[in-house]
Amino acid sequence: MKILSVENLSRAFGGIKANDDISFNVDQGSILGIIGPNGAGKSTLFDLITGYTKADSGKVEFFEKNIFGLSPDKISNLGVGRTFQKLKPFADQTLLENVMIGAFVKEQNIKKARDKALEIIDFVDLIEKRHHFAKELSTGQRKRLEMARAMAIEPKLLLMDEVTGGVDQKTIPGLVELIKKLKKTGVTIITIEHNINIIMEISDNVLALDQGKSIAFGSPKEIQKNKEVIDSYLGTFDAA
């Protein structure tokens, strides 16, 4: 079943087309990986889908409901969660409080919200850090915090922007496992990644962008063999 449908989405900043006529579908329960060089329009695409940036034209349907033009809070209220490339934790609040703010979307009672937040924090393996202020956490832990906070709103679709970006090599496998664990909960995931090996490992489908345009969409194997993708992004990547 199709959970998200993007049709002919475009957005230009002045003369620069950040997203140019992009179309793709995402199946429920799958992981879609988005790849592309810097400036390809990946994060802009996230902002367009989640309402942070208004598209010039196109259509975005979530469960066949048109969400084009809705504000970010309304889109998240429908069940679209997201994390940010430039991390945005509530720095002066504890990890638990960060996640509780998300949990309040579905739970009105403070104790229930607290317990739900604790379960999610345990899910992301940070239970011992629950009383630490967000600003005290490492980058990897803050990535987990953002995932936990987004999970707390019980999203049906979760958009994750460079989960493994900016963290050390030792931290990456844990984050990748966490994404796989998230998928098992039934949530549909769209993830932006620069690490091509990770994207090939976790994704059911891959969307490749270059200079704001969609240059390929398909299974990881198909993408690896796609000449345009190799030319613009993978270079002489052996696996291709």
Partner: protein, 336 residues
Amino acid sequence: MDKLIAAKSEPLWNTNNKVISIIGGLVVLLFALPLVGLNSFYLHLFIMIFMHAVMAQSWNVIAGFSGQISLGHGAFFGIGAYATSFFYMEYGITPWISIFFGMFISGVFAVLIGIPMLRLSGHYFAIATLLIGISFQVVFQRWDLVGAASGLWVTMTPEDSWTALQFHKSKLPYYYIFLVFFLISFFAVWVLSRSKLGYRLRAVRDDPQAALSLCINVSNYKIIAYVISAMIMAPMGSLFAQYILIIDPDRVFNIEISIIVLLITVLGGIGNVWGPIIGASILIPISEYSRIYLGGTGGAVDLILYGLILMIICVFRPNGLISFIPKDILERKKQR
């Protein structure tokens, strides 16, 4: 799993019995203090501390919890003052009722001001509120219905009257009235800070973009904070009007009111319910004593002292004097 179970069994709040005992003791002390004989000056001093602590608490809600720096909050103080005086003099309505009129009118104005203004952020919002605050003063200076620049002289009752909220023989009733309002407002903001609304307001303050991703309508929450803040400020204007029985635009819409609540909160600790209380307990005595020893409005020495204290605080203790209190007795205890 064991760790999760242990975490769930923790109390919601880290209630420190020692702190609770100290607070309880202080409340009892505040109620008992006049009985051991406070002269008129000290009663006045405490009344001013209570009043300014509530006013600063009001400002703390909009600035400390939702992150919007308002420089025109004196407007709501003035609205509260005029509401009680006007309705009492024109229609004989007891101030006990018109306090609520003042709160309501302030709330309505907060919505009307907030809808366009809260679209602005940072310095732009601060400048806009500064101008709004001044414009209230200008309008009331020219509004004949409320006495224009001369203001309103509240008709004095021949005897002390609880109904008219006027006490001529002693400041003692005012002391207790202001104390009760102080405790109510403190408790209300304490509850707010631990409510779902409080959590969401802090999210708006810390990162509006991230708050949006958690289904929080940032504009609406800013307006809610502004309304709550205005409705806490207004009763202080009402009580102040009954305390001095003469109000005019220069007195109750003065820009100084908006600035002093900011100073008190920043000194004590912004975003913390204790901050305004600590700040008022230090700044108001400085103001009153400089007035006594230097005459008039304190020869502006109080303002110089404010400036000095604030500079020292901003450099060495940017989180205010509250940061001197050890973290382990604050509410959110870390368990490493």
